[in-house]
Symmetry: C2
Subunit: 168 residues, 2 copies
Amino acid sequence: MRDLSRASGMSLAGLYYYFQSKERLLFLIQKHTFTTIVQRLKERLAGAVDPEQRIRIFILNHLEYFLANPASMKVLSHEADALKNSFAVEVAAIKREYYRICVGLMDDLKRDRSLEFSTRIAVLSLFGMMNWIYTWHNPRVDADAGQIAREMGDIVLRGVLNGARVRR
Amino acid sequence: MRDLSRASGMSLAGLYYYFQSKERLLFLIQKHTFTTIVQRLKERLAGAVDPEQRIRIFILNHLEYFLANPASMKVLSHEADALKNSFAVEVAAIKREYYRICVGLMDDLKRDRSLEFSTRIAVLSLFGMMNWIYTWHNPRVDADAGQIAREMGDIVLRGVLNGARVRR
DNA sequence: ACTGAATTCGAACGAACGTTCGAATTATCT
DNA sequence: AGATAATTCGAACGTTCGTTCGAATTCAGT
């Protein structure tokens, strides 16, 4: 909180006037971030029907946001279990909605192409790829969000599309 | 340190008698973990020549260790940037060696199959998949290391093997 | 200009933290 | 048994942390 006070130019007591507690400030950051990402995602998904294309939109939306806001990504990844009680419950609900959207997209792809694989592992692997990026991405040497989204999309989609077909 | 004192049954001062500082204790944990993983990996790789099989061994070795030692995984992921100066340098060297081994395995696969893709993105995506697991794996509902290693191996290897061929 | 509400802040509080110290206890060797 | 070294610990140290308080300042409406 003293670091934030110094960085923002507002006194320590002033910060508490607006945010009540360190935990509530963290809650507001997490809630704002996930809400923004989910909202943008819904807008972008509205214009696409192809299951593969919709998963690519999901990946691009996620990476664009976090590569543009690397500090947010660090806070969300690092402090994922820091909230308690109602704060934790409310953030968990938004995260769950976001996760369920991705599961839905993956299941649509499975149905559309008559594929057979574990949706849970595929989705969580995808989240792992995307979220781990905050540990290594360097804007001076690495490609931009669009390029990385394409490459990660290639890996997951090929990985999944070339798998076992449902036997009929 | 007080938590560790309580959990271990040794007094706080006793802990400092053996570990000198909190940072050195963290250093020893990180060094021990990475050293162990790299050593086991080398033993297992000694008996395999097929590039695809070698990558599968890498994945299995990594997941087996971390699913058996979830607390280690949390410490390594969470405190990856916590060390300073010589401690940081020494751990970074082992991590780099581990990373380079995986890059080597991926490049072997590329050469063997005449493939074209970004080794860096493929390897870092693989690490992301594997390391993110500490945020979601529940031994009561999720499969064991062998099964998950197979599924993640399928995703990465198919994703990469079905990509563009080098044009000749 | 006056008043009540909103905003801002310096200064402090108590708790938790990493660490150290000196003394007590235990182990080892002759 | 006595001497030396290794181990263990309660108690404290200075610092940092999250938070609060009361007073000062600014703002809005009359």
